[in-house]
């Protein structure tokens, strides 16, 4: 019944439109003018609307900025993140200025140079090499600055000294994250994807606890035994960290927006990102509100629960970190409890 009604209404709307258009055309035939010819009146109206819409558009951009700026990510809480924020601010100001200037010129020309009368004639002006040279060179100079500034920041980030960094492995799979700490020996046990056991030797992986061997760790390797696999990523404030990323199944992307960190996790390949967090979670709670938590989220489409693939991240002082890490079981301890 509803469907029939919808079809009926749609039909009536179309029929009404047709009749309206016919009336318009017949009227103009009577008046002996072409209904679809663009007249000076049209030019006037349309250029006026363009001016009004143009002003409203620019005003709405400003309104959007002031209404939503508080929703944006807080300032970076990592050392390199601050340099990214500065580069962002520089680029953003540059493009906002250009955006506004060009639009003002565009809307002004549209308003000013409409054909207002029949004898209005445009100015024949096919080219001016000097002018064109100027507006090729000007953007070139600006772009040179942007490129050099951008590349210097990129270089700083990707060539960071990682010799003193603590190495932590971040491991993605549909649809959860694990972190692995190397334990006392400071060495990760080796891994092989053929050893991956999601639900075989342990029953805990379904209970939101670390799965013993989702990561495919070689338990024959001595270095593995003191490794710790956790469902939270804990970091020490002001201490450099090198995250190494792996994936069990498909491409995920580890995104830590507050630190300005993102790297893809690719099966069959290891990727990494080095950074230094600069604010603890509790400092951020004071600044942003009690609900604040750092988070690592997946930012590469990875399947049905992609939108909920997350891991809690905690930045804390060295003491708290040590205490937390001591609480976590090593793999050898876990193996014992399973037997």
């Amino acid at each position: 019944m509803m469907n029939i009604l919808i079809i009926l209404v749609a039909f009536l709307v179309v029929a009404t439109l047709v009749q309206l258009l016919r009336v318009g055309e017949l009227l103009s035939e009577v008046k002996n003018q072409d209904v679809n010819k663009v007249t000076e009146k049209d030019n006037k109206n349309q250029s006026m609307i363009m001016t009004i819409v143009g002003i409203l558009f620019l005003a709405s951009c400003v309104w959007q900025y002031f209404s939503w700026v508080h929703l944006m990510l807080p300032g970076a809480t990592s050392e390199h993140g601050v340099t990214i924020d500065n580069l962002m601010a520089f680029t953003m100001i540059l493009i906002i200025v250009v955006f506004i200037l060009l639009h003002i010129v565009l809307f002004y020309f549209i308003y000013k140079y409409r054909k207002a009368a029949d004898n209005d004639v445009a100015y024949y002006y096919p080219h001016n090499n000097k002018l064109e040279l100027i507006w090729t060179i000007a953007p070139t100079i600006v772009l040179t600055v942007v490129i050099l500034y951008g590349l210097s920041v990129w270089d700083q980030i990707t060539n960071a000294d990682t010799s003193k960094s603590e190495v932590i492995e971040v491991y993605g799979q549909q649809f959860k994250w694990d972190a692995r700490y190397s334990g006392k020996d400071n060495t990760f046990g080796s891994h092989d994807y053929k050893l991956v056991q999601n639900c075989g030797i342990c029953t805990s992986c379904l209970k939101d606890k670390p799965c013993t061997n989702a990561l495919g760790i070689d338990l024959e390797d001595e270095a593995s035994l003191d490794d710790k696999v956790t469902r939270e990523l804990h970091l020490v404030v002001d201490k450099p960290v090198l995250l190494k990323f792996r994936s069990q199944d498909i491409i995920h992307s580890a995104f830590l927006p507050h630190f300005r960190v993102q790297m893809n996790c690719v099966p069959g390949m290891s990727t990494q990102f080095a950074f230094t967090p600069t604010k603890t979670t509790s400092e951020m709670k004071d600044q942003e509100g009690e609900d604040f938590e750092y988070v690592l989220l997946c930012n590469k489409i990875c399947g049905v629960a992609h939108y909920n693939m997350q891991m809690k991240v905690v930045v804390e002082t060295q003491e708290k970190y040590d205490a937390w890490l001591a609480e976590q079981n090593t793999l050898s301890e876990k193996l014992l409890t399973q037997k």
Partner: protein
């Protein structure tokens, strides 16, 4: 002499070899797919603004299986996003835009009776039609259509265990894309050969209208880059069906360790984006050409800096081949390579800036006539500026780290590529409709269409930049799983409101289009006072285009308001007067 001959219904309307009819076939297929793609976006927008709520319209379109109780299924959400992207990028903005205007305009504007090979041209459309049919069939398979995103990165797209859409739906997607590439190559080769060989007497390259330059360059881009997509797709088919390991390595999925080792998903990304980036310009350049033409005609002024416009087109096209890596800054690619891609990417801003300045200089001291086509051309300049500028952020590898794959990207490419290209397409349809069908489109409906589209399009895509700067990833079924995104629901509601409004007003365009084909007021031979050759053809649209001799060309296409001339336009067929310099 004319090639006109009597034709049956089938040879005239279905298996036609007349470029004008083929153009219309592309246009109408493109419009049909455009409506489907747009509808998909509205369906998933409903879920994004009102996550988990029930909508009768969702159940109506998707049925019990994919929207049980009117609530969108998360797998179907990913399918809708994927198919929306695929349809809009390839079916509407590549085939719909280039297929329409290259076919329609090339012979008419260079002064040829038809394409170099009418038969290959017909094949090009029917391969496209077959691709369309296969793609549409994939919407109805048991496991759902492809759902790994329009970029179909493996392993997600390679393993049916990873997502249901990677089953039969993905196979059909790949077959459709293979047919599509064949169509695109057949078309592209024809366009290149026609423009280079069949120009009428006097139509030197330096007298070609800018639309012709743009379409020539687009065809070259397509011929050089689409085969790479084809090979990427073929290797993916091998990985999926024949057990090879081009893109797969060390994978455990569904509790099973797969035998694949030694492949790399990153290889696929390189192959895909080697097409994927030029593809962006395959979409954009025809719009640039169309808009250049329309702005000049309706400003009653020559396009400013014709040579700079041509050179910047070539520069953009050349650069587009060496920037693909900017889609892959965070894949773990060598950082030095990242630097190179940042450098080449940001260089594109230079020819783009030149184009914008030249458009503004064309409008300066013009005598602007506000046809609906002109309004869309102005809209194009605005979106080209807005979307182009945010490219400076995304192209900068250091900044890309934090906005990569967020809504900032979605806002950016929809404005600079989606809106600009679709504005170019609308502008072209309004402008050349009189030549296509011998009638005028209704002006008032055109105005309403433009204003509602312009306002709602910015209403949809501008706020997305803020979502992205808040860190919201794209392709999330809902953002309610993260407390940090809770404040964004207002923005999402605004976006959905404008998406629905903008979607509805397109129906007005469709109505205007079909109404005008049959009932529009009769057009005159040259309603816009335009210089280019297509306006010298008679209103009756005959196969062979000109009843008598093909006219020869004596000047460039942009002699508008030339001092000393009687009228404010001088057609290209008019010989130079004594003492008159060309320009």
């Amino acid at each position: 002499m004319s090639d006109h001959h009597n034709e049956t219904f089938i040879s005239k309307y279905i298996f036609s070899i007349d470029h004008k009819m083929i153009a219309k076939q592309f246009l109408i297929t493109g419009m049909f797919m455009g409506i489907i793609g747009m509808l998909m976006s509205i369906l998933f927008r409903l879920q994004l603004s009102n996550p988990g709520e029930s909508f009768a319209v969702l159940e109506w379109f998707l049925g019990d299986k994919w929207a049980p109780g009117g609530i969108l299924d998360p797998n179907m959400y990913l399918s809708l996003v994927t198919m929306h992207g695929t349809i809009l990028v390839f079916w509407v903005l590549t085939a719909g835009l280039t297929g329409t205007f290259a076919n329609f305009l090339i012979p008419l504007q260079i002064g040829a009776r038809d394409m170099a090979s009418g038969f290959i041209n017909m094949l090009s459309y029917w391969f496209f039609f077959a691709a369309t049919v296969v793609l549409l069939i994939s919407l109805f398979v048991e496991t759902g259509p492809a759902s790994a995103g329009w970029t179909i990165y493996p392993p997600l797209s390679a393993l049916p265990q990873a997502i249901p859409g990677s089953g039969l739906g993905q196979d059909l997607w790949l077959i459709a894309m293979t047919l599509f590439v064949v169509s695109s190559l057949l078309g592209g080769l024809n366009y290149i050969v026609t423009i280079l060989n069949l120009r009428t007497k006097g139509m030197s390259m330096s007298r070609l209208p800018l639309t012709m330059w743009a379409l020539l360059i687009v065809a070259i881009l397509g011929v050089l880059s689409f085969p790479v997509l084809l090979s990427a797709a073929l290797l993916l088919i091998f990985d999926r069906s024949f057990g090879t390991s081009f893109y797969l390595s060390d994978i455990v999925i569904g509790g099973e360790a797969l035998h694949h080792t030694g492949g790399s998903p990153i290889l696929f990304e390189h192959l895909f984006w080697f097409l994927g980036h030029p593809e962006v310009y395959i979409i954009l350049l025809p719009a640039l050409g169309i808009v250049s033409e329309i702005i000049s005609v309706n400003s009653r002024k020559p396009i400013f800096g014709y040579k700079a416009m041509v050179v910047s087109l070539i520069a953009i096209a050349f650069l587009s081949f060496i920037v693909w890596g900017h889609h892959m800054f965070i894949t773990g690619m060598d950082p030095f390579l990242g630097s190179v891609f940042t450098f080449t990417t940001l260089l594109i801003a230079i020819p783009s800036a030149v184009k914008v300045f030249n458009y503004l200089a064309t409008l300066w001291k013009a005598s602007i006539r506000f046809t609906p086509a002109m309004l869309f051309a102005i809209g194009f300049v605005s979106t080209f500026i807005t979307g182009g500028l945010t490219g400076l952020i995304l192209g900068d590898s250091a900044l890309d780290i934090n906005v990569h794959d967020t809504y900032f990207v979605v806002g950016h490419f929809h404005i600079v590529m989606g809106l600009s290209a679709i504005y170019g397409m609308f502008a072209g349809v309004y402008h050349w409709f009189p030549k296509m069908y011998g009638r005028m489109m209704n002006k008032k409906l055109g105005y309403i269409h433009f204003w509602v589209t312009f306002i709602s399009a910015y209403g949809v895509f501008f706020p997305m930049h803020f979502l992205g700067l808040a860190g919201l990833p794209r392709r999330y079924y809902t953002n309610s799983a993260f407390p940090m995104f809770d404040g964004l629901s207002d923005i999402n509601e605004i976006i959905t409101f404008f998406a629905i409004l903008g979607g509805l007003v397109q129906l007005l365009f469709v109505f205007n289009f079909f109404y005008s084909i049959f009932k529009g007021t009769k057009a005159t031979e040259n309603p816009w006072g335009s210089n280019t050759l297509e306006w010298t053809t008679p209103i009756e649209r005959i196969h062979g285009n000109w009843p008598g001799e093909i006219p020869s060309v004596h000047r460039w296409a942009y002699d508008y308001s030339k001092p000393g001339a009687e009228k404010d336009f001088i057609p290209q067929t008019e010989p130079l007067k004594e003492g008159e310099t060309e320009h």
